[in-house]
Symmetry: C3
Subunit: 485 residues, 3 copies
């Protein structure tokens, strides 16, 4: 009887262990896939934040780059990146990069792959904003692949893989050991992305018209074409960063981890809010305007990853961890003051964070500067000035973002409309067609507006040559009739 009971108990125990194991795997998969889905949507967020911030003539181009991004990052991370980051290795090199599981051969952990892939895609996509409106597509593909296949995966191996040298840290006594703190990818995602953005923008140079030239004209800020699109992107990115930071635990099944996830989300919102308010107030004091776009960008930066300030946001995240966290410098100092004795660990920790940040920046420079310089040397980095001035959409893609002849409608000749006073004939709206034909009449040319057939056909544009300068329509007047004359 006893025997029987013991067996039953053992069986139950085993069943329970079994249940715990497969259930926690399932729930973690569910958690990571859900968060990864939302993080994946950040590609859409970046696309629209950037699309709203460029001029309409480059809108298709910037969205194209963001779409390609997700796709190239997948191929590169699948073929090469995952293996370098998490493939088991051996020997000394194991501290530097992974050495197997390329093409996912031998991998079981698809969940982690999917989750890490969306992080890699984020790291690659960050740069697109810094080179918008002037980067050659070839350059874009090259740097995007470099990042997602090599640069970023090796950084994650250093920082996030248990055998990476940054993750291993060093022993300061028998019991105490520093470790690399990198919650939510402050370092390997945002500092890396930010550094590469800086390199790219520096080597490429600013957009034409961005800074004053010799003519003494005040240079304008180049306004984006759509505040709503930029805001849409901003909202989606907030949504995404909450998942990004919440999901960084990588698991939802360890005891007490639910609280950590939700606290991460609350802290993300709080620091985004503080950054947004700071920016808003400073800008208002200086310029007298309440700027929406700066506020959104500041908020995203505060959420540890602003578009414009990735490097800044990223490095602050790295150091904040060892300044204000529970094991941080601030606590050490306050402990020392209150007589609890001085601790060396927080100092060693801060030192280690500095070393790691330095390593991340150095690595990003060492790998990406040659890439961009080579691209520049072969003239593949930046589009010719004429194309930049006229816009990339039509020349590169054959797709205007808002083809003019797709607008307008024909309901401009209604029957008389009754008002309360009398009946009168009204043109309810100026149609673009009418404007177009009026323009045609003026200019004695036939605009293609009325002949969409010939317009924007990629095969016809292939033969188009662009002129050196943007033609300025004559403004002399007199000769040719009233309009274009």
């Amino acid at each position: 009887m006893d025997q029987n009971l013991t067996l039953q108990l053992l069986a139950l125990k085993e069943e329970f262990e079994d249940y715990k194991e497969y259930t926690s795997k399932n729930i973690d998969s569910f958690f990571l896939c859900t968060m990864a889905l939302i993080i994946f949507l950040m590609q859409c967020g970046f696309a629209f934040l950037e699309a709203g911030a460029v001029r309409s003539k480059n809108t298709t181009n910037i969205i194209f780059k963001n779409v390609l991004d997700s796709l190239f990052a997948l191929v590169c991370y699948w073929t090469c990146g995952w293996g370098l980051a998490y493939g088991p290795g051996e020997g000394f090199l194991e501290h530097l990069f992974g050495q197997s599981e390329f093409f996912l051969v031998g991998t079981n952990d698809y969940t982690k792959f999917f989750f890490q892939y969306v992080f890699a895609a984020t790291a690659a996509t960050i740069v697109a904003g810094a080179v918008a409106e002037r980067c050659e597509i070839v350059a874009y593909i090259v740097y995007c692949c470099s990042i997602s296949a090599v640069v970023y995966p090796i950084l994650t191996h250093w920082g996030w893989h248990e055998s990476g040298w940054m993750a291993q840290g060093f022993w300061i006594s028998d019991q105490e050991k520093t470790e690399y703190l990198d919650f939510a990818g402050s370092g390997v995602v945002h500092l890396c992305g930010g550094t590469i953005s800086f390199i790219a923008a520096y080597i490429m140079g600013p957009r034409i018209g961005r800074f004053p030239d010799d003519s003494g004209e005040v240079s304008g800020e180049i306004k984006g074409h759509s505040v709503p699109f930029a805001s849409l992107g901003g909202f989606i990115l907030m949504f995404g960063f909450l998942a990004f930071n919440g999901g960084s635990t990588g698991s939802i099944t360890a005891p007490g981890i639910g609280k950590i996830v939700s606290r991460a989300m609350v802290n993300t919102m709080l620091s985004g809010t503080m950054a947004a308010f700071t920016c808003l107030i400073v800008h208002y004091k200086m310029k007298g305007k309440l700027t929406l776009l700066f506020t959104i960008n500041a908020c995203l930066a505060g959420m540890v990853s602003a578009f414009a300030v990735h490097a800044g946001g990223g490095s602050w995240g790295l150091f904040a961890a060892c300044l204000v966290s529970h094991k941080g410098i601030c606590y050490a100092v306050s402990n020392a003051i209150t007589g609890h004795g001085w601790q060396w660990l927080p100092v060693a920790q801060l030192f280690w964070q500095i070393v790691c940040a330095f390593a991340i920046i150095t690595w990003s420079f060492a790998t990406m500067v040659p890439v961009f310089l080579l691209l520049k040397k072969y003239g593949k980095l930046r589009v010719p000035a004429e194309i930049e001035i006229k816009g990339l959409d039509i020349y590169k893609h054959g797709e205007a973002a808002y083809p003019l002849h797709a607008y307008g409608h024909g309901w401009d000749e209604f029957e008389p409309i009754r008002t309360t006073k009398k009946i009168s004939v009204l043109n309810p709206e100026i149609s673009l067609e009418q404007l177009a034909s009026a323009y045609d009449a003026m200019s004695h040319k036939k605009s293609v507006y009325h002949n969409p057939s010939g317009f924007e056909h990629p095969e016809l544009h292939g033969v188009a040559k662009y002129k050196k300068q943007v033609p300025k329509p004559t403004q002399s007047g007199k000769e040719n009739g009233a309009f274009n004359a």
Copy 2:
């Protein structure tokens, strides 16, 4: 041996209890965080529903308000609101408001905080639509903070905290007790938000041009500038309301609760659908048109929270619960008729719902009317008429939603394009640049279109003064050439 077995059994039992406890906490955190993320995206939904419904000159402004909303609500709910709503208290006052955990000091339940915060942000954001295109930003900040710091949290304490007076209800017999039924925030979120919207809109007055004036002109409905944006907002809000209502259970781990969550989603969709069809058919019968925007708004109202009809949607939700639910009046009546005896509970329940709805409305009036009246007294409620007419975007934010000079491209001088018939020179598109220079030639002025440098610089606009009336371009003709003449 027995001893040993007993110990093992006890250990297993304990482990199991332990597992159950931390797992259910984790899964609930996961559930609430996921739902909260989706509900957070509703801020984006509201922003776009409203952005599409205003004119382009106020688009940046309305999005700005919706972004600020999420941020101010967080700060206010963090500093004050959460404590008033869920901070433990004592004595009689405990029935009225919470008394601790301000700044989240001493709180453990970050998950609940995050979830409740997104609800508070929703309650605050509802009002923005009612005061669009004319509300001063100061007024907006003041009322938004009032709602999320005080008005809404105290309501949730009444209705959702176990010691709140509404939640406690009263005993009608030894066994039977009324309780406040408020599934998915019909009362405390939507009735409150709707009431405050009404107060705000009433005190502020309608937009200029919204209703007929003395001149006898038919007043127009003021159309929004983008149906697609409004629809985008509507779709996101549907997505959000499904999560809002599904997530209202606050947990996913109690036995059988999964079914309740999914049934809530199904019912949400069904009632949204019924409301949308009703509105569609009535409008079609009356006006002969199938209106998209009314249909979307009706659908959202049916999902218990339409933008335009928050008060209506919210109060119906409150009463529907005690009319048609399983313990509701309808069942009581049918039971009485079929001879199962009359029950007083449903009647008492209905009475209690009416009392609570009355309390919510009274509380909203008592707190918010003084706020709005004070704002009005000090001239901080509504922007001056000139700014309202000319639009808030440029004056307040220095950011036009669609800066004209960010549009257009330069590809208007292609080489001849081949058609099947002949080769002819075509202007593939009327560029805005050409239109602009044509306009310049006409008007003998230089539009800044060609000189973006000076345009929309916030620091330059600071000195701009607006005129009293919108200048009407002269239409007399003759003198000045053909165009502007």
Copy 3:
């Protein structure tokens, strides 16, 4: 003592079983509801993919159809579809369709209903893109209801219900049995939707201007009015398809299923990527342009459900399963070659897939061709040519997507703006108002731009009659002044 222990053990066992059961139900509900929410958002994705691809004059119309879609599909699936698909039945007919649980009477599984409903809505919405810009709303409602009430539910009964004839397959030996493989709805959702799209587009005919007419003019591709909107839709659909395919397991609680879900997502991304690259390269080789929209559509097709190629994408999914899966033909062949003996199962399997695909296509034709032909006979299939040319938005809905008078702002008379050189008076922007009044002056008519009151009032439009042809503004010149003359 023993007795006691045994009882305790039994109690624990029972509690554990109980816990397992209700927890797995809850977690599955959570999983399915979350995925269903994201899949529901695909309605928004389709709406915007299609809205971006039509001309602005039909934008409200296409969004309206997509909203209606979700609503009609719910009503139809609730009243009828669910019962036909999953209602228990008896006798031979059970293999053909379900026979109970109409109006959800007697159903307990709301989670499955909600999940299946979003699939049904997807099947119905696929067709909208194929008939855009010309379909009568009545026709749309009729076919949408037919699909979600009858055609699609019966297919799911065949393929996904355990007693459906396709799901049952046939025995090829005592141990081996074919089964219908339909991961993520390749067949019942995408092949069905694609077939009906083909039928609808064929019977309805192409849009006016889509293909060359007798006049010998090159016919244009009809460009959509907004690349960003189409891309937004594409991004949302990618997000949705990941959930669609990941969620197709229908559960997250069986041992090892988490891995299957994440692998499904990884594979979805990979095949989308491959399709996108193939399309991109082919198109670039042929036309010399890197097209964004084709790339997005190809990516979605690769994710087993492109808009334009539903039928193609769907049927490839059906066959791929038995070609390259672990039990597929390729493995059988390689086994035979390597001397492991020939297996008949993969061949039988492929045969069965072909039979099923044939059945799906036949069923779609048999049910939907009569529907569309009847609609055509009674003139309810396609709008009159005049309305098609002038656009559906204003005539059908009274809502222009971008009402012109909602644009523009009044800040065109700033005080002088300082430049570095001198102070000059500038018109910062050409306002639409000024363009409008210039146009008015030219044409000697008063455009309603200045009198929004009379514009787009649905009740006034009811009396409007459209003319036979789009009026061409005269271009002869001379007589009437310079502009309209």
